[in-house]
Subunit: 212 residues, 2 copies
DNA sequence: TTATAATGTGAGCTTTTACTCGCATCACGC
DNA sequence: GCGTGATGCGAGTAAAAGCTCACATTATAA
């Protein structure tokens, strides 16, 4: 009953590695155009230009394809955030918030439709250990950043900041917003506000929200 | 090709109204235990103790069942929020934020699993006009509350507050949190922080987050 | 009671879809 | 060249799921 979500076999030759990549890209395009409901193994194979047999050589189930895509997405987010944090070693909290918010925002903006669908898919899949581990690493990363800046309750703050940023970014991008800078300012305001820091630049045009 | 998501016919007698309710409740239970993937028309009918034929008499498709459940959920949230806003007529912004946050939190806590699944379903369904209207009314309500309290950019602030509250509440409840009061304090902090107001009560035990 | 409309039934039709398997083709070491 | 394992193929299978329809039962009104 329990189906594996990991690849059936590792591709050994270049040819087969390309086949895997082509299959994943085809699945991505289908998800972007038709959503989760449009994703069928036959169709993925067709769009990819390979046979179903080849597909099942590397992915033991439809869910395995989704799981692999989600792994890739999560890994890239984690790497981006780690790199971003590196650039603000020793700098104050607001700078750290800035780069992390920017990193996660960039991440939402590459193939936004795909990211959304994969997040939904992730909730329906029985999430795997390695995926939980990646999520945990992100939490750890953010918690560390906050702890180093003497934020109390860093673990909970990390959780909350990730969740609220995610909620705001998702909603905005789903709503078709494209003004990256405006969205960034709002995310920044929310995050700094939660942390009890006043967002600066309140004098500028994109400025204050509260009472005039 | 386009399938209707509205009930096929209105139930005229008491008996059939009960049948409708029983069907919706059965669907809810299935969603809670097995998620979207477990929802099949045959199974809904079986759990409800009615025949598939009866089901299709009132719901022209599986999606129509989901749409009806979503409508119910949204309507109840809107009504709760409207009632909450009524109670703080003429009171300051922080009080208004309080009651609205509490209302939406309560709303997440009744059958939390069901609410989550329905939200996912809503994204996959081609969302209907009447659902968009309900969402719009909520936006209008919150925008009005903010405008009356002289919040600049009230429309955008309403959007952002709804989105970030939703993100935080969803994540927390999905993570199994049950301490309603603690969660409320964090939501409140996030919302007031975004609005540029300091969260008071910073002296208490659940208090300040920023640097010690 | 009886006519009529509303409601309820469930076997089964139809379509879709995940997945298999026997065979063909290709790459690479000898 | 040639043998062996890796890769690729796609018609076909079996199961699942959405939905219909001819018929049975129940309620309402005359």
């Amino acid at each position: 009953m329990n189906q594996r979500l990991t690849p059936r076999k590792q591709p050994r030759q270049k040819r087969s590695q390309e086949t895997c990549a082509i299959i994943l890209e085809a699945a991505a395009r289908i998800l972007e155009s038709d959503g989760l409901g449009g994703l069928t193994t036959n169709r993925v194979a067709e769009i990819a230009g390979v046979s179903v047999g080849s597909l099942y050589q590397y992915f033991p189930s439809k869910e395995a394809i989704l799981a692999e895509m989600i792994r890739g997405l999560r890994r890239s987010l984690l790497l981006d955030c780690e790199a971003a944090v590196e650039t603000v070693r020793g700098r104050p909290l607001s700078d750290a918030v800035d780069v992390m918010v920017r990193a996660s925002l960039r991440h939402h903006l590459v193939r936004p439709g795909l990211a959304r669908v994969l997040e939904r898919a992730e909730e329906e899949l029985p999430l795997e250990e390695d995926l939980k581990a990646i999520k945990g690493e992100l939490m750890t990363l953010v918690t560390g950043v906050l702890e180093e800046r003497d934020v109390a309750n860093a673990g909970q703050a990390a959780f909350d900041l990730i969740a609220l940023s995610h909620g705001l970014a998702s909603a905005a991008i789903a709503g078709g917003e494209t003004d990256l800078e405006n969205l960034f300012q709002r995310l920044r305001r929310a995050a700094l506000g939660y942390l009890g820091l006043q967002s600066d630049r309140t004098g500028s045009d994109a400025g204050g929200v509260s009472a005039a």
